[in-house]
Amino acid sequence: MEMPINYNQPLVMHIDLNSCFAIIEQQANPLIRHKPVAVAAYDTPGGAVIASSYEAKALGIKLGVNVREARLLSKDVIVLMPDPAKYRDAHKRFKEVLLNYTNRITPKSIDEFVIDFRGSLAIQRGRSLADIGLEIKQKIKESLGEYVTVNIGIGPNRFLAKTAAGLHKPDGLDVITGEHLKEVYRQLSLIELTGINVHYEARLNVAGIYTPLQFLKADANFLKHQVFHSKLGLDWYLRLRGWEVDDVIWGRKSFGHQYALGQKTADRQQLSQLLMKLCEKTGRRLRSSGHSASGIQLFLRFTNRQYWSKGRDTKAEMYATSDIFLYAQRLLNQAVIPAKVTNIGVAVYGLKSGSPEQLGFFDGTRMDKKSRAEAVDKINDKYGEFTLIPAVMANMDNTILDRIAFGSVRN
């Protein structure tokens, strides 16, 4: 197989919000603009930084350092807890701006969008994407605030558009075309290519590929059979040449929630309470999406950096929170807990559309559970989350905070 470089007009735009959570906080509070700001999961010393402003990044305060380390790097760093409702609102406004141009928009995460301009009215009117990009930057400022900046990349496929968006951060706007593709690759290392992690880099190195230009020159069959040992090799061959292979829309496969414990514990009763709350959140989302599930996975991470995970298919379909909790608790009972737990997560999979009508053989009628779950959801919709709670959650404070996912924003 041999394919040329794609010299077609670049019509894919990638937009990401610079240092998303931190910049929204700086927009909201003008007194912390141009200062080092770190948004951390917790503001206690062990809390992990999940976003930092450009000023903080310049001081070495990057994703993953904890608050203690951040304060050692700079005593002036302003540490804030995340405000998910505000970030969701910003995401919504961001999307509304983009919908003025086309409805072919794919949110890649809370702060990233891909826009496919093929056939859009703006392009038919002869406008250049760079010109549209500058206008979008201005409209985002008008909608979210003057301090908010975005990186925009334009390319013939998603991969090159994202690569372009990363060339001049912050507030960049770059176009990669087939004509100067090699020039861009010459400036980058393998690990700087989106999708190439240290494992793939090692594989490529073993095959004698050390630079993106060598990667580009590699033969399709060589990449498929000698490097990636799968279709991935062909995907990379096409992707690097500007052909689209990433416009696949994956359906939802699971619902889950994870929680980083503020106060780490190995106490099974406390873990059980947290688990109940996670199951309730998971169940609420499962039911509101109109699904039931037939598999469950429990995940635990410990202070000694080890983790434990186990999944199982369930005999009956899960719908009510009590169903999910029952199976999750069984998994928790099987868990070996060698140290205090730092993270706990639960996910349900094997999704089926529609609520289950099938009766569990030994569980009595499941229809009463279904009706009860829906009645509880209705009350919580009206009076707020956790107004009505299962007894196991009694005496819990608002331990599990609202959190925002870094990846999918599908609901």
Binding site: A28, N29, P30, L31, I78, A85, K86, D89, D381, G384
Partner: protein, 88 residues
């Protein structure tokens, strides 16, 4: 320094027909009036069926930032947080 307050406060709100925006104008807290210089961000949240408007504003002197919450079920204002924009 950022401090959680969660106290009811007096707020004068101004509606601009031209801009079609309603914004807090004065915040009265602890016997002092703070004139709003800039609204940094405004968004809404729901607690059950109750809609809350969250305004993050800074005073005209640019010394104090306020996070205000308007509960639309009773039109009460709560000052949630104040900040001087410095590290804790």
């Amino acid at each position: 320094m950022r401090e959680k307050i969660n106290e009811k406060v007096g707020v004068v709100m101004y509606f601009s027909a031209e801009q079609r925006r309603a914004l807090p104008h004065v915040v009265s807290w602890h016997g002092r009036d703070y004139y709003v210089g800039e609204v940094g961000y405004h968004h809404t949240i729901r607690e059950g069926e109750t809609l809350h408007h969250i305004y993050e504003v800074v005073d005209k002197d640019k010394t104090t930032a306020f996070r205000l919450n308007l509960d639309t079920s009773n039109l009460f204002w709560t000052l949630e947080v104040v900040s001087d924009g410095n590290a804790d």
